[in-house]
């Protein structure tokens, strides 16, 4: 139990960082109705770009900005493969993800991982800082939970504003009803590309934060990211779905969903002593169940609903 409590701040920090990725997944999966598998690759892209630039002596902020842009480019590739080349969205994402594997290796100088010396560089977040704040060596605001929390709120605020604009609304309507959107003069292809760009930007940003937090980037750091993202989205929806109606709060629920996910995983590791090798299997099973439950419910537990007359066209 004590080991769990000791690990709790770390789990919450990680949950918050991955939560930003999950917000990216929310944009594609929930708003655009696209399961975008690019994220498994673009998450690592963000981490790799950030680590390499910081190692090259860049300040953290511009390094993270470039990471964000790199992720956006990855999203754009997927978007163009889907819209301009007519490749189904899920396959377009897989193609980009596969290609990114080589790109990510190239970014990291053809190495499978690159580490950062925490003592040498000023980072935004780090596992080390978490411990040092606890010991009183560093001021409280350098605590990852505080910093990433603030970061998350800023991102949610920006996205909340954006999706309320004319452009952001056209993106939401594209996901809700593409036929109607085109009839109302919305370029649905552009909207999809834009959504994928924003989403993968968030994902890469999250990867950049995680690489700083763990002080290294690894070619496999994004493996299964889409599943973690979906888990966070679904947990957030199950827990807060009835409570949070506002769009901003829904985004926040995704972040909290991610924290819950990591705390539960940490609890499973600490309390059951399960081999951490099985975590990915556990995640996959949990997400599969949560995706299946609404479907089963709709098939077996609801009465047929009549709405809007008959359709004998």
């Amino acid at each position: 139990m004590t080991s769990f409590l000791n690990a709790l701040p770390g789990a919450i920090s990680q949950g918050l960082i991955w939560g930003i990725m999950a917000i990216g997944v929310y944009i594609t999966y929930k708003l655009l109705d696209i399961a975008d598998l690019t994220v498994d690759g673009s998450f690592c892209t963000g981490g790799a770009v950030c680590v390499m630039l910081i190692a090259a002596g860049w300040n953290v902020w511009p390094a993270m900005l470039v990471a964000l842009i790199a992720g956006m480019l990855a999203g754009m590739v997927t978007g163009l493969l889907h819209t301009s080349c007519g490749i189904p969205a899920i396959l377009a994402g897989i193609l980009t993800q596969l290609g990114l594997w080589s790109v990510n290796l190239a970014i990291m100088g053809m190495k499978a991982n690159q580490s950062l010396n925490v003592n040498k560089f000023d980072l935004l977040v780090s596992l080390r800082y978490l411990q040092e704040v606890g010991k009183g060596v560093r001021p409280f605001w350098q605590h990852p939970i505080f910093l990433v929390g603030l970061f998350t709120i800023a991102i949610v605020a920006i996205l909340y504003w954006f999706f309320g604009t004319e452009l952001g609304s056209s993106l939401r309507s594209t996901g809700a009803n593409p036929n109607m959107s085109r009839a109302q003069g919305i370029n649905t292809n552009f909207a999809k590309v834009l959504g994928l760009v924003i989403s993968n930007g968030m994902v890469a940003l999250s990867g950049a934060l995680l690489s700083q937090y763990q002080s290294f980037a690894d070619i496999n750091m994004g493996r299964g990211a889409i599943v973690i993202g979906l888990a966070a989205v679904i947990i957030g929806e199950v827990v807060f779905g009835k409570l949070f109606r506002n769009f901003g709060l829904k985004l926040l629920a995704v972040s909290i969903g991610s924290i819950i996910y990591y705390v539960v995983i940490q609890a499973v590791i600490s309390l059951s002593g399960i081999n951490s090798n099985y975590l990915k299997l556990l995640s996959a099973v949990i997400v599969a169940i949560f995706l299946a439950v609404p479907y089963w419910k709709s098939r077996h537990f609801t009465k047929p609903m009549k709405r809007g007359g008959t359709t004998h066209a």
């Binding site: 004319e166 959107s181 109302q184 003069g185």
Partner: protein
């Protein structure tokens, strides 16, 4: 207002499912005309509307709206000129968005979508007034999700959305066919009201011969991807269902096969 010249469209060419839906169709519509379109199943009525709306491009021929050649223009760009209501009530609105959000999207049809607010307070008041015209009580439910509305309410809302920015051309694709008779009549009433008020150039497909006769100033009957009968003016005023049936038989050389064209 609309000029279609010699339009051809074949679906699934070179397969067993090959279907020539438009077969050298030509049609000229004048400014302010309200045209009803009838024809049997597969006559090409919906294909005609989709060709004009740009759901896909025609194989041959040209389409001109108000002097602008739109033949190669994609659907979302043509939307600037066209308001549309579909047969399926689910198709014209975004179910997961609010009534006012749907209207705000329609308000920006044909305009650049920028980073300005997606909906303003002044608009909301305007929408309330407009929804009152429909007499469905929607003016008090601006923030309700459209998915909660009935089929008739959704069609009425779609109609309002199609005409919020006055379109050069209003396309109605059997927009009352999926509704019960009472609701259908109500939506048709609202249609007539809006078309009259804004003098909209309108193309309305219907399966109901009586509706086709009682609405609009011109009636066209399609057969095998072409205009087979075109009646307007005095002749249209005197038209009866029996006349139409005779014309159909003459045009197609066969007895009418579809019950739905007879009934209703």
């Amino acid at each position: 207002m609309l000029e279609i010249k010699n339009a051809y469209k074949t679906f699934n060419p070179g397969t067993v499912n090959e279907k020539t839906a438009l077969n050298g169709l030509s049609l000229t519509i004048n400014d302010g005309e309200f045209i009803t379109v009838i024809g049997g199943n597969g006559a090409g009525k919906s294909t005609l509307l989709n060709a004009v709306a740009g759901v896909w491009l025609v194989d041959e021929g040209s389409i001109t709206i108000d002097g602008t050649d739109v033949t190669r223009l994609p659907e979302h760009k043509r939307a600037k000129y066209i308001g549309r209501v579909f047969q399926d009530p689910m198709m014209g609105t975004a179910a997961t968005m609010q009534i006012e959000e749907n209207l705000a999207l329609a308000m920006r049809r044909g305009k650049r979508r920028t980073l300005r607010a997606g909906i303003t307070a002044a608009e909301r008041e305007q929408y309330k007034d407009m929804l009152k015209i429909l007499e469905l009580g929607l003016e008090d439910r601006l923030t309700a999700k459209v998915g909660l509305l009935s089929g008739g309410q959704r069609q009425a809302l779609t109609l309002l959305m199609a005409t919020l920015q006055k379109p050069k051309l209003l396309l109605l694709d059997e927009h009352t066919a999926a509704l019960d008779p009472k609701t259908a009549a109500k939506v048709l009433d609202a249609t007539e009201k809006i078309v009259q008020k804004d003098h909209l150039t309108t193309l309305m497909i219907t399966h109901n011969m009586r509706d086709a006769i009682s609405h609009g100033g011109r009636l066209i009957m399609m057969y095998e991807g072409r205009v087979a009968v075109d009646i307007s003016g005095e002749e249209k005023l005197r038209l009866t269902v029996e006349d139409l049936l005779q014309m159909f038989e003459k045009a197609s050389g066969q007895m009418i096969a579809s019950d739905r064209m007879l009934l209703g």
